[in-house]
Amino acid sequence: MDENDYITPAQVAVVIINAMLGAGILTLPRTTVNAAHTPDVWLSIMVGGFVIILFGMVLVRLGLRYRGQTFYQYVSRITGRWIGAFLSLVVIVYFMLVASFEVRALSEVTGLYLLEGTPSWAIIMPFLWVGGYLIRGGVSALARLCEVILPITGIIFFLTMFLSFGIFDIHNMRPVLGLGMTPVLKGIEPALLSFIGFETIIVLQAFMKKPEKAAKSVIAGILIPTAFYVTTVVMVIGALTVDGVVTKTWPTMDLIRSFELSGLIFERFESFLLVIWIMQIYSTFTITCYASALGIAQLTGRNLKSVITVLLPVIYILSMAPHSLKDLNKLGDMLGLTALCLFGLLPLLLLILSKWKAGKKDGTVS
């Protein structure tokens, strides 16, 4: 690892935020409402956020035990070489799939709303080059990019959401908890899926000068996307109603497309949403792609840059694999579930194992 390639706690938070905000923000209202059938899904998202914070804390704990090491490096120290290599491989493939999922979602939405008729390779390939160019700069460049685009995203996002207030109807959000907690609980699962991205901490923490500050970063990095998500869901359901949301492929886009404000120069605002969304996909893609490439580099001991060069075509091919949007959504759900197992349950096991091992070592020493 390059000596100068380090990131500050604030940057870690920003990277996590950027990694989380991705394809999910356009589909979240549909997936959650589909599961819960009530307007209370914003509660599900909040609960989901807290659950994810717990997961994140476990990861941070784990990382703290192995300072300056990424997951790929410490996992084999916990589980032994072969299992460790296997787990690393799973994580690498997972990140690769997330990257290709995001890219594919990008090409679907861009193809639908911006570039109808442009072949998807023409949409994806330049995107991959630009992304590849960035991650060759290492994690600090990545973090700085996230820092540049996050304020842009935040301002534009909340502005467009605020503009949709004209078609917001509070009646659509009521009653709160009309059917009790059960629907809320049902909504948690899809809500959790939208939080994938927090797991990047397993890589990021290694680049921190003070890894003990990672906990704060993770909490901030989860709470801010929660605010984004809650705003999205509330505005979308408030405008399109629970029943209206379930049929939309990209409900958040439809929200922005559902109003026109003549008088304001732009009148229609989906271009803004699309722009920030593309930026967010870009950041998510680069982060996951970097995480994956770093894993390969550390596992095989090869140069990161050459790994990236090889990885990009692989991601391209993977992104072309789903046949339809339905397949893509399925892939997304599957990835989410994998993430929950891989970064929700597994780290707990690893942490216990690691503590137990350390205890044993202490025992033998004393």
Partner: protein, 397 residues
Amino acid sequence: MGLYPNLKRAFVMLWLLLLTGCWSSNEIEDLSVYVGIALDKGEVTAEEQQLREQGSAEKNIDKVTATLQIISSKSSSSSDQSTKTDQKPFINTAGTGDSVFEIFREFASRRDQPVIGHHMKIVVISGGLARANRLDDMLDFFYRDNDIRPSCFVVVSRGEARKTLETKVPGGIPAFRLVGMLDNRNRTLEVIPSVSLSKLQGYLQSGTSFILQNVLSAQGEIKFSGAAVIKGETKKLIGYLSEEELKGLVWLTGSGKGGLVKAYDHNDSGRSMAYEMKSMKSTIKSRADGKKLSFDVNIESEGRLIELWNHASIFNRPATKELEAIFEQKVRRLIDQAIKKMQQQYRVDVAGFGSHVRIEHPRLWQSVKKDWDSVFSQSLIHYKVKLKITEFGSLID
């Protein structure tokens, strides 16, 4: 130095991209922008008939006639003053078939510039068509299409829908006029909250009954008048509310932004008076007694006395309270008409009482929402109307 080969590669790629061309590029002036659509019962137009006779058409059932209002670019150019004669800034063109999308694509073989729907503002559906077909079927294409924005408004025309997209005024675009009229809610109670495609979809999906603005046309003139009632269960038009009934409904739901109440003196029927509504508020409370539901509606309004005819002498002028009572009575009559129409004739809830039950009694709602319209038509509605004249304009009383 690490940058250099990368940059070169990037340039090569960029160049390749430029060479392969711009797939989606289509200059704006090469497109036909349509701003409004009228859907009528299938009725083949004269030109179409001739085309068909020459053997152009595929066999299909003439279910729908779609009339597109296309902005004609020739005359919207402002730099060309000389050609700005009586030429209309729009072209209405129609096609008939049983698939809306097919009709649209038909235009590709009839016009040099492909039609695009990004700027569609309004859909006018003729009452006859809406009676015969489900709304969600007719509009399905509009929801699926990625060009047409869900912000597009939907209205119903009791007569022929295509007539509402015509005008006698040179230079005006009828579709824009319709959209502009939807904004006049602060002047009259006859314009109801506009229903966009996305709002409509909410209604259609949830299966609630609702009303759509009705528009009448006569010789290029159009007028909003009353509303069309769509039954949630069948998603078809089942009837209309007259202007008076619609006003009653607006009072009942308190959804008016501005408008007036005209009434006559009890003693002297020639003596008309007008109340300009400044604010309107209606609180609906639902009461559940087992499965039996009843509603308490409390309507309050403030406004000014804006017109009073034939006041022979200043001493003979009715007191403010009296005036208020007269107006209240008028409003009650309107509301009675509306409730009667909803509960007895059409047996549908278009006033949103269901949503109050949903919010206030969510558990009960689960059991009644299936056949809410019939439950509603048997429930009791108590209402109180309180009008308050707070000012008298520039006159002292």
